[in-house]
């Protein structure tokens, strides 16, 4: 437990679910093009993930930036580890590296 309750919430979110995307909007209705792009890649791969809408939670919205030391949303976590934002995920997806990472970490996906 840290002395920051928001960090504790974030920690439990990213350890309870294999793939967590902190995003603007929801996976069904992304409210930002960058979040939509990451949702698109994950959806293409048919990987199960939990979307956390930072627009509905101001504490998480600011907290996740400090937690990851990363200034922007979206942010993808896999098995508790920060993987990157929109640019990195897109690059990894196009290079086939996202698939490899899911393989290495034992996360199942379809395509």
């Amino acid at each position: 437990m840290s002395d920051n309750p928001v960090f504790d919430r974030i920690k439990s979110e990213v350890s309870d679910t294999d793939v967590v995307l902190f995003m603007k909007g929801t996976p069904m209705f992304p409210q930002c093009g960058f979040s939509a792009a990451v949702v698109g890649a994950l959806t293409q791969m048919e990987v199960k993930f939990k979307g956390i809408n930072v627009l509905e939670d101001g504490e998480i919205r600011e907290g996740i930036k400090a937690f990851s030391e990363w200034p922007t949303i979206p942010q993808l976590y896999v098995k508790g580890e920060f993987v990157g934002g929109c640019d990195i995920i897109k690059e990894m997806y196009e290079a086939g590296e996202l698939q490899k990472m899911f393989d290495d970490k034992g996360v199942t996906y379809a395509a």
Binding site: F34, E69, W70, P71, G84, C86, D87, I88, E91
Partner: protein, 78 residues
């Protein structure tokens, strides 16, 4: 809430003096840029670390004054 491309370039250069930087103003609104940055300082670093180095160079502007900066980072010759 906008930033000149030249300011972005100068701030990155200050932190990464050998960097080669190509900046595009994606919408012509001074708020949505893409940057391709090549620097030997990225050698041996993960993508997350490389992008963090650029964000650090921008001293908190990213996500504040600067809404969108699509980053592509790499090392010379890569």
């Amino acid at each position: 809430m906008a930033m000149e491309a030249s300011v972005i370039e100068r701030m990155i250069k200050e932190a990464l003096p050998d960097a080669e930087i190509v900046i595009d103003d994606l919408r012509g609104d001074g708020d949505h840029y893409s940057a391709k940055i090549t620097s030997s300082a990225f050698e041996g670093k993960s993508r997350v670390q490389q992008h963090k180095m650029v964000y650090d160079a921008l001293q908190g502007k990213m996500g504040g004054d600067l809404h969108a900066l699509a980053l592509q980072t790499g090392t010379p010759g890569a």
